[in-house]
């Protein structure tokens, strides 16, 4: 099963991943190989099987509702490349 350039471009937009024109042929071809590999699944007989989301059969633990965090934005924002007035800057968000 083959993925063409258009398929890959759609995936790139969904995943916000730039693939350059130079990379594109290789990416499309390797992705197609992977899809061929995983296509083996499609014909398997899974009647009666329940999808497994977790290897464990335990329930979600519930946390007590109390505030345990303090303000550490100065420390954390040392990792950010563009901060102004304590806000993280990004290209303008248009709504």
């Amino acid at each position: 099963m083959s993925l063409n350039r258009e398929d890959v471009e759609k995936l790139c937009l969904l995943a916000r991943l730039e693939v350059t024109p130079e990379e594109m042929t290789d990416v499309a071809s390797k992705l197609s190989d992977i899809v061929t590999l995983v296509n083996q699944l499609r014909t398997a007989d899974t009647t009666g099987a329940v999808p497994m989301a977790h290897p464990l059969d335990i329930a979600q633990r519930l946390r007590e509702d109390k505030v345990t965090e303090s303000d550490q934005h100065e420390h954390y924002q040392q990792n950010a490349s563009m901060v102004e007035r304590d806000l993280y800057l990004v290209p303008k968000v248009i709504e």
Binding site: K10, L13, L14, R16, A53, H54, L56, I58, A59, Q60, R61, L62, R63, E64, D65, K66, V67, T68, E69, D71, Q72, H73, Y76, Q77, M82, E84, R85, D86, L87, Y88, L89, V90, P91, K92, V93, I94, E95
Partner: protein
């Protein structure tokens, strides 16, 4: 063409928990930017979500209050999309197995009739942060304090048939979540947000028309206006021969129109899948029964009880049950003066108290007139000690003095005792008839309405203290008798 309007509302209400749904950050409104954003909220590498117990309980309470099925096993799912206010690049929400589903809410329509609105589901999810668009030289600033605040998304069936109904339903949900104590419903602060799905179809047609989604309608008024405007737009589009496009639109209050959102055309494929960092939420019957026993009397039940127990009309009952606090105030007042018809106390609350609270922007809990005082005031009207118009003045004085003076003392101090002695009334009535021969003649000739004017004149010379009913009767007797 007779068009039928079909509306479904999606309401996002912030749950009033202390900490966020998946992290221990505070949910307090108004903190300085990013001061309430922990590593989990910021989506740092390696962090993991842990579920807040209160959020689960609040969701269950909502489900119980609306007759929903509570899922014994519900799953969190990831909704994947990219946006700067969504730090992980996905929102933890619920998709296939929401925590509660299949309920309903009864609303009281304008004509007093009751309509049942279906609630498809309500599920838990985390809120995103905020984008600030002040000028950062062509950039936006992101504040993630809000990211991770617990939300309950309440989805109605498309059972609403007009903008007015939508407004009523939205208010009913707003009242309910505040009654339950699961949300403060503060729309200015963004605790209560509404999206509307609107479509039209020829009346009688079973198939649904193409719908548009109206987003972020943040006041009751805007919801109704936006829907009205959108319905008209859709009708115009279809009657012009075109088709309604399925899209998301924003309401612009300035132009009173809806505008299509200016985002890039994108297949919004959210690629939902169960979140592998969270396990299934198992809810046992024991917990459900415990929470059921903790439910307060709900607005619907309270309203019905007020109607039957206190002989109030639906509309009055609705107003007195619009918050738990008002209902409690009313019942306290009634209890303190058992001989006074509740209707009278209700009227006094509606006429005087609501106004005063609004004018002073106060919550009823901070009312300067206590329930006992208003009940005494009502009893004074009841036993004719004062007239109902004098009551307004007494109320004002009570308010001004913070209920520190007895009602009786206020009446005495202001000299507002009602005049109800027959002699006094007759004397005044005689005077007024004598001073107004024209009107007296008109009445005798059959113009019944003019009695109002004459009553008013007596009230004037008595400085409002005469008992209006007695005056009315005395006038009639004398005019007919002569």
């Amino acid at each position: 063409m007779d068009w039928e309007v079909v509306i479904g509302l999606e309401i996002h209400t912030q749950l009033a928990t202390e900490s966020k749904i998946f992290s221990g950050s505070s949910t307090q409104y108004g903190a300085s930017p990013n001061s309430q954003a922990s590593l989990v909220d910021l989506g740092y590498p390696g962090v993991l979500p842990v579920l807040n117990r209160s959020a689960v309980r609040m969701a269950i309470k909502f489900g119980l209050a609306t007759g929903c099925q509570i899922s014994p096993r519900s799953i969190f799912a990831r909704k994947n999309y990219f946006y700067p206010d969504l730090p992980k690049g996905y929102q933890i929400s619920q998709y296939e197995l929401p925590i509660v589903y299949g309920g309903h809410l009864d609303i009281v329509l304008e004509d007093g009739g009751i309509k049942t609105i279906g609630i498809t589901r309500a599920h838990l999810e985390e809120d995103a942060g905020k984008s600030l668009h002040d000028d950062f030289r062509g950039r936006s600033g992101i504040d993630l304090n809000r990211a991770g605040t617990p939300l309950l998304e309440i989805v109605s069936e498309p059972d609403l048939r007009s903008a007015t109904e939508a407004g009523i339903y939205m208010r009913a949900i707003h009242t309910l979540v505040r009654y339950l104590g699961i949300s403060d419903g503060n729309m200015q602060e963004g605790s209560f947000r509404c999206d509307a799905n609107v479509s039209i179809r020829p009346r009688g047609e079973k198939k649904l028309g193409t719908r548009t989604e109206l987003k972020n309608l943040n006041s009751f008024r805007f919801v109704e206006k936006a829907i009205q405007v959108e319905v008209k737009r859709q009708i115009d589009v279809v009657e012009d021969g075109a088709e309604v496009i399925q899209e998301t639109r924003l309401y612009d209050a300035d132009s009173d129109t809806t505008q299509a959102m200016r985002t890039k055309e994108e297949a919004n494929d959210y690629r939902y899948f169960p979140d592998p960092d969270l396990l299934p939420v198992i809810i046992e019957d024991k917990l459900i029964e415990k929470l059921r026993s903790e439910l307060p009397e709900l607005p619907d039940a309270k309203r019905k009880r007020f109607v039957s127990k206190y002989a109030l009309s639906e509309t009055v009952a609705e107003e007195l049950t619009s918050t738990r606090e008002i209902g409690d105030y009313f019942e306290e007042a009634v209890k303190s003066q058992s001989s006074v018809p509740p209707k009278r106390i209700a009227k006094l609350i509606q006429r005087e108290l609501t106004e005063a609270l609004k004018k002073n922007s106060l919550n009823i809990k901070k009312s300067k007139v206590l329930p006992e005082a208003i009940a005494v005031l009502a009893s004074k009207i009841q036993d004719n000690s004062i007239s109902s118009s004098a009551a307004s003045t007494v109320f004002e004085e009570l308010w001004r003095t913070d209920s520190s003076i007895d009602v009786s003392d206020v009446i005495e101090k202001l000299g507002l005792e009602q005049i109800s002695s027959e002699d006094a009334i007759n004397t005044m009535v005689d005077d007024i008839i004598a001073q107004n021969p024209e009107q007296a003649e008109q009445y005798r000739k059959g113009k019944d309405k003019v009695i109002g004017f004459l009553v008013g004149q007596v009230m004037k010379i008595s400085h409002g203290k005469a008992n209006p009913q007695q005056v009315n009767q005395a006038l009639k007797d004398k005019l007919r008798g002569e």
